[in-house]
């Protein structure tokens, strides 16, 4: 729907139409939150090229409003998961199909007392007061138009509360399934994680798509880390190539917290992971790593924003990507150090390998610094495999295709090596290896010099 100023606000109508039937309708603050979302999205419209944070990722595919909001979770069973080790891992399993929690597929076993894992819809209906201090509080709607749209649709997703002092014994595995029917379908899942003081937990997310028509998955996650909380967060984004996958995550970090995130993206037609970490308390540590693999006409976007608002915090980012076919990789990362954030230590690295003459990488690593006693740096590289390394391997008799795969894997390993959970690291590695066999070998040798 274009407004007077000519910008497009597709899907706003659907949000407004649905708002009366979404969970918690009638609760004032919930209604207000959705309204704020609709308002912010309405003002901004669908992101365009001249929006700094959307310069390289074109959402024209969404403009003609072909996607209809999914009308609930279809009765599908749990599909087999692509990652063997993680699938076998003892976890608390949460399954969301088309943005709706499916309690029948969840396996929560005996959750410790004072840990709550539930559906957002249920909570909004049964205990909205518990959500009120957190829900919608750290998404800056004006900075994240697509998260604003999600907020207008706010209805269901996963909610997790971890009470003070708890060290969760098993990871929580959030399996997010997009299950389109024949027609183009849209889902707007909303997740909320609230970590109490001195808590530790691991959250693994797997995003997959079942067969069907095209889909648009617009996810928002809000993560609150109270003092001394530690959250490990691993994401496998493996949606089908007929999906537009946009994920916006905001993390509020109090003092002495750690947030350790790793995102592997190899799926989706357009896959975007946007993480905004707000380091509000001193002595915290934020690590954002990622690996992306793209081929054909995929667009893979990793956008980060780390706001150092408090002194003595550290942030580290390493993103590595391999681009084949006509794919495009995007890395936009910003480290913003505010006046009072003295002794900040911030580092950012983006490296991309281009395997094909039609692939493209666009990187914008950005530093904005207002405190003088800081150490901040970034680096970015783009290119192909190092010919000297290649020759060394060849000269030892290793065939070219194999040498290529070894070198690409080695290139990515710097990011993967940091993953503290062994099974996840191994699944990531296996996944990368398989992707290389499926995609890179297919045209190896073409580049022989």
């Amino acid at each position: 729907m274009p407004d007077g100023s000519g910008h497009m606000q597709p899907y706003l109508d659907q949000a407004l139409e649905g708002s009366g039937s979404f969970a918690g309708a009638g609760t004032d603050w919930v209604d207000a939150l959705r309204r704020d979302g609709a308002h912010a999205y309405g003002l901004h419209g669908l992101p365009k090229r001249r929006d700094e944070y959307w310069r390289y990722t074109n959402l024209n595919a969404l403009a003609d409003e072909q996607f209809r909001l999914s009308d609930g979770a279809p009765a599908i069973g749990l599909p087999s998961l692509p990652h063997k080790l993680v699938a076998e891992l003892a976890t608390y399993r949460v399954v969301v199909v088309n943005g709706r929690l499916r309690p029948d597929l969840c396996a929560l076993g005996e959750l410790p007392d004072d840990v709550l894992v539930s559906g957002l819809e249920d909570m909004l209906t049964a205990a909205p007061a518990r959500l009120e201090p957190y829900l919608g509080k750290i998404i800056r709607l004006n900075d994240m138009p697509m998260a604003a749209l999600n907020t207008a649709f706010l209805n269901d997703g996963m909610v997790m509360f971890v009470g003070d002092g708890i060290v969760l014994d098993k990871p929580v595995h959030l399996i997010s399934i997009t299950a389109p029917g024949a027609d183009a379908m849209m889902v707007q899942p909303r997740h909320l994680v609230v970590m109490g003081k001195d808590t530790t937990a691991t959250l693994i997310e797997t995003h997959i798509t079942t067969e069907g028509g095209s889909s648009f998955n617009n996810i928002v996650s809000e993560l609150h880390l109270d003092e001394g909380a530690n959250l490990n967060h691993f994401v496998f984004q493996e949606e089908s190539k007929t999906t537009v996958h946009l994920s916006g995550t905001a993390v509020a970090m109090a003092a002495k917290t750690t947030y350790d995130s790793f995102v592997l993206q190899s799926g989706a037609a357009i896959g975007r992971s946007e993480i905004r970490a707000y380091m509000n308390g001193p002595g915290s540590d934020c690590r954002l790593d990622g690996v992306y693999l793209a081929t054909d006409k995929q667009v893979v976007d990793n956008t980060t924003f780390v706001e150092h608002a408090a002194p003595e915090c550290r942030s580290r980012q390493v993103y590595k990507g391999v681009l084949d076919g006509q794919s495009r990789g995007v890395f936009q990362g910003k480290v913003h150090v505010m006046r009072d954030a003295q002794k900040t230590d911030g580092h950012q690295l983006s490296r991309a390998l281009l395997l094909s003459p039609r692939a493209e990488i666009d990187a914008r690593p950005e530093l904005e610094i207002y405190a003088d006693d800081v150490k901040c740096s970034h680096g970015a590289t783009a290119g192909e495999l190092d010919e000297d390394l290649m020759f060394y391997l060849l000269s030892r008799g290793i065939p070219r295709e194999q040498a290529r795969r070894m070198l690409i894997e080695a290139f990515l390993s710097e990011a993967i090596a940091e993953i503290p959970l062994e099974q996840v690291a191994e699944d990531f590695t296996t996944h990368v290896r398989q992707w290389l066999v499926d995609n890179v070998d297919a045209h190896a040798g073409q580049d022989a010099t």
Partner: protein, 251 residues
């Protein structure tokens, strides 16, 4: 039939002629030493023989075991048995030494129709070779050459040579950067590999290495050609007289 036969070799890098009509024959079991001033083309010769991209042969031929070496890709040459110990071994972050070596050794074994090593057997196989060269398990577990000292890198090269068991080994200044003890270790490692089939081409600047690895022939390379050949005593002479005479000759 000689193991390696180079006839009238001309090669360029970036259109710049570096090797200018070089002839050299190495028979099985022979050790040849090449000496020559900086920039005379020694490393270039080693790269041309091992098939590095960007080194273009403009004239001449090279037969290895009777086969046309120049027609083969770099990896093929290696599997056929040409080994180069690099003057400057590269670092490969992210690939452990042991994985690297196993991949290489298995590629060569498969080429010869032998069964590849499994991980366990391979560790045993390498440990045996490594022990003699003072290469620790730790060095093998680390990424290839990454953060290694100059001497460690050179020992790693010799370990690779021992593991790959080539027919022809080219050692490009393997002695440079080695302390006295390491020089001995490396030389012993190389001598242990002297058989009546294997050929060795040793590039060096110093007579000292040749005290340990005694060559059958010594050649002087200047401006891309062999300008003088002799027995091991030639190395001693060069130590005395330097290269001035050859530089003028070739000019």
């Amino acid at each position: 039939m000689a193991l390696l036969e180079i006839r009238n070799l001309h090669a360029t890098v970036d259109d710049k002629p570096i090797i200018n009509g070089l002839d050299l024959t190495i028979g099985g079991g022979e050790v040849h030493a090449i000496m020559g001033p900086n920039g005379s083309g020694k490393s270039t010769l080693s790269y041309v023989l091992s098939g590095r991209a960007g080194y273009e042969v403009t004239e001449g031929e090279v037969l290895f075991d009777g086969k046309n070496l120049l027609e083969m890709e770099a990896d093929e040459r290696a599997r056929e048995g040409v080994f180069l110990a690099f003057q400057y071994p590269v670092e490969i972050p992210g690939v452990t030494g042991i994985t690297f070596l196993r991949t290489a050794v298995n590629a060569v074994r498969q080429h010869h129709g032998e069964a590849p090593f499994d991980a366990m057997d391979f560790v045993k196989f390498v440990r045996e070779k490594a022990a003699g060269l003072n290469v620790s398990d730790d060095m093998l577990k680390r990424a290839v050459n990454t953060g290694f000292s100059g001497g460690e890198k050179k020992r790693m090269e010799i370990l690779q040579m021992a593991a790959l068991d080539p027919k022809l080994a080219i050692l490009d200044e393997t002695d440079s950067g080695l302390d006295i003890d390491a020089l001995k270790v490396v030389a012993d490692g190389v001598n242990a590999m002297r058989t009546k089939e294997r050929g060795l081409l040793v590039i060096t600047h110093y007579q000292r290495l040749l005290d340990y690895i005694v060559p059958d022939h010594v050649h002087v390379l200047a401006k891309g050609r062999i300008v003088k050949s002799g027995g091991k005593e030639l190395a001693l002479e060069l130590e005395e007289s330097g290269y001035a005479e050859f530089l003028e000759d070739a000019a």
